[in-house]
Symmetry: C2
Subunit: 422 residues, 2 copies
């Protein structure tokens, strides 16, 4: 019976079967050493008088588990049989055990179909899967309904720019940049909804922080009193996500040497006006209306120094800085928030306008074309409840949590300005 | 404190707060009756001397829960306060309580943003969410890793036809019609993977069974012995999905009057050759090489009569009927299977070729252009393990389980030959 590498310690002295990949090899003539990697880890295997295939060949090994203080993990398997299930035909383009993933990304991403096999390369995807599992589990418990909305749409939620075009039979369509309208419609149906799905942004930027296709964790909730309900929801949600990642991918988090954040009982909140005041008066930073990336970074440091936390809500953004559907206050602010984690925005959210006449007023106030939003407005003719929501970029959160040098390493097969393969 | 409709029976004699939508109303002058609908159900509310807003207005009601044998569900709420949170501005295009969803789909789908509010209209989406939850939960327990693969790709997994084109900056790209290549690559990384994501097929058909965008539940598993491992996996998986739907969406299943299938300990298996023989010799059906929809329907009846089950695996399809990557047998068949449920194919799967030279041979035997598959072949240079998988179409399974007249009712906002909105 097959035993996973992580379970070998319970089988010392026994004969086991291993299945996996040739991670690394060394031939001393009469004796050959190899490391075998399976989905759970890596173990040393010793065999004799056998020609080993190229690294990354898939293998089946039968042998006895023996304690060996010098072997990685304190165990090795002395092979009695070694079968090559499928040999690698060529040397790998980079050496998988060397985990060169902190190097320039170009080669690593060009050969992502092989380089992903490295333990550190695959770890962020495992952590992300656990974060997403925690996301769903928490919201399921709060009686949210998972939704699956269309990704091919006739128009964007916030106007026409930044959209990738699709030839949809005879018609022009676009890839959705957000499920915004659909999750709002579905609040009228299920009251509380979430979606985990790809979204697309046709951004020209080609930096270590941008992806043109990414995974959006979207939440929308009806019958709220205000944006505070949403921030409290997000606090509980993120806490469960952090815990599930530690439970489900703790080995991967440790392997990457990530400094896992603690989670405060309540994340501190600063209004946008307070944040600007602190930046200007306490930090001496020449702040504009909008908070630059540098300003957010400084606020992250400030939260760390003042409250000892990695997390900070900035609330009540001025109306010109938020989309037309954001619920306005009489003082020119909005019922909105961003969540900063270590000085990086990972969420944007807020209460939405739910009354039709208010939406018409808001579109006009922004100088937007009413005609282009008829489909959106139509929905609000039918008694939408007070509601709001937020979205979390999964790769960005994963990158920041794990301290990855490039957001591309938090996606299996990233799409960027120049990359469509593998 | 708000109480959900489904929990009212525990609050008889108490004052509660209800939040929801005006489902239906009747004004008797001094007394007004209304049905209030929330995410959990519908309850009768009685109020006096109040002008009721249009149906679908969102409401807050405070009142006392009273037993009333004549009211739906045996309870009513006698309102002390009724607040309109947001009034509907127009009558709805169809009457939501009438649930006209068995009528011609055109009007219902055109106004999907409102018609989805009907209890029977929304029920299939709730059932589907539970099926998907069961899918993930089962596979998580079997140590599968959830993956998120690119949906914008440079080429299709099975050649170029049937793909929607995307303008990706200066390049031509396509919407993925399956995560096939990516889930295979990731078997080399995580051994066991699954994905829940949209796929696209540019099919010209515009029938009650076709969607151009649908949700694919994809599974791929490494280090298998053969396709039997996959069928056993799928048996356990489907059983958990069925159970989770009953647990999590039992009310919705009952509301739709669906005849929920029982699940056999083992699904009967017929080889393709046996199935053809039965069709020809026992059922007198003039069967071709391929099994037509009618042939599958007859096989479904046969399974019902012979084994008393709704489920049937048809295995070992001849090589010409399966994609090039299907693992061939020496006798001209393949390690492949379809799963029929009540005579409809809901899964297609099989073992894949995992050795590079065999793939080259298979592409040549099919007369396919090697050049176009260099990216695919590249992956197989690095010791892929024996592996295979399958995919379940979520909407089709939901439709068939619930007996829906049209697959579009199993998707929130369907995309078809002519439909890009809402």
């Amino acid at each position: 019976m097959r035993v996973l590498v992580r379970d070998l310690k319970g089988h010392v002295g026994e004969e086991v079967e291993l299945l996996g990949f040739l991670h690394w090899r060394r031939d001393l003539g009469k004796v050959q050493f190899l490391l075998l990697r399976d989905r759970s880890g890596v173990v040393q295997v010793v065999t004799g008088g056998q020609r080993l295939p190229l690294p990354e060949s898939s293998l089946r090994v039968r042998g006895t588990v023996v304690a060996n203080a010098k072997a990685p993990g304190g165990l090795e398997v002395q092979a009695r049989e070694l079968e090559v299930l499928s040999p690698a035909l060529e040397p790998t383009p980079v050496e998988i055990p060397k985990e060169e993933w902190r190097a320039s990304p170009d080669t690593l991403l060009e050969y992502r179909h092989v380089t992903l096999r490295g333990e550190k390369a695959r770890a962020p995807l495992k952590v992300q899967a656990a974060l997403v599992r925690g996301f769903r589990r928490y919201l399921d418990r709060q009686d949210f309904t998972e939704i699956f909305t269309p990704k091919v749409v006739r128009a964007g939620a916030e106007g026409g720019s930044g959209l990738f075009g699709v030839d949809y039979f005879e018609k022009r369509a676009y890839l959705a940049q957000s499920p915004q309208l659909y999750k709002q419609i579905l609040v009228g149906v299920f009251e509380r909804v979430y979606e985990v799905a790809p979204v697309w942004r046709m951004e020209e930027h080609n930096t270590s922080r941008h992806l043109n296709e990414y995974l959006s964790l979207d939440v929308e909730m009806g019958f709220i009193q205000g944006e505070e309900d949403l921030m409290r929801l997000e606090e509980g949600l993120l806490q469960e996500m952090m815990e599930e990642a530690l439970t489900g991918a703790g080995n991967e988090i440790r392997l990457l040497g990530a400094e896992w954040p603690s989670f405060p009982k309540e994340i501190p909140r600063l209004t946008h006006a307070e944040a600007r005041k602190i930046l200007k008066e306490e930090l001496g930073y020449p702040v504009g209306q909008d908070l630059s990336e540098e300003a957010e970074r400084l606020l992250g440091q400030y939260a760390q120094e003042r409250w000892g936390t990695d997390w900070l809500f900035v609330t009540r953004y001025p109306r010109p800085l938020r989309p037309f559907y954001t619920y306005p206050e009489a003082d020119g602010t909005t019922r909105s928030f961003d969540l900063l984690f270590r000085g990086l925005e990972i969420t944007s959210g807020g209460q939405r306008i739910h009354r039709h006449p208010d939406l018409v007023e808001s579109l006009k106030a922004k100088g937007m074309d009413l005609e282009g939003f008829q489909g959106y407005l139509e929905v609000f003719k039918y008694g939408m409840p007070p509601h709001g929501g937020f979205a979390i970029g999964a790769e960005r959160l994963t990158q920041k949590l794990l301290g990855l040098p490039n957001v591309r390493y938090a996606r299996a097969f990233p799409r960027d300005r120049h990359r469509l393969t593998p």
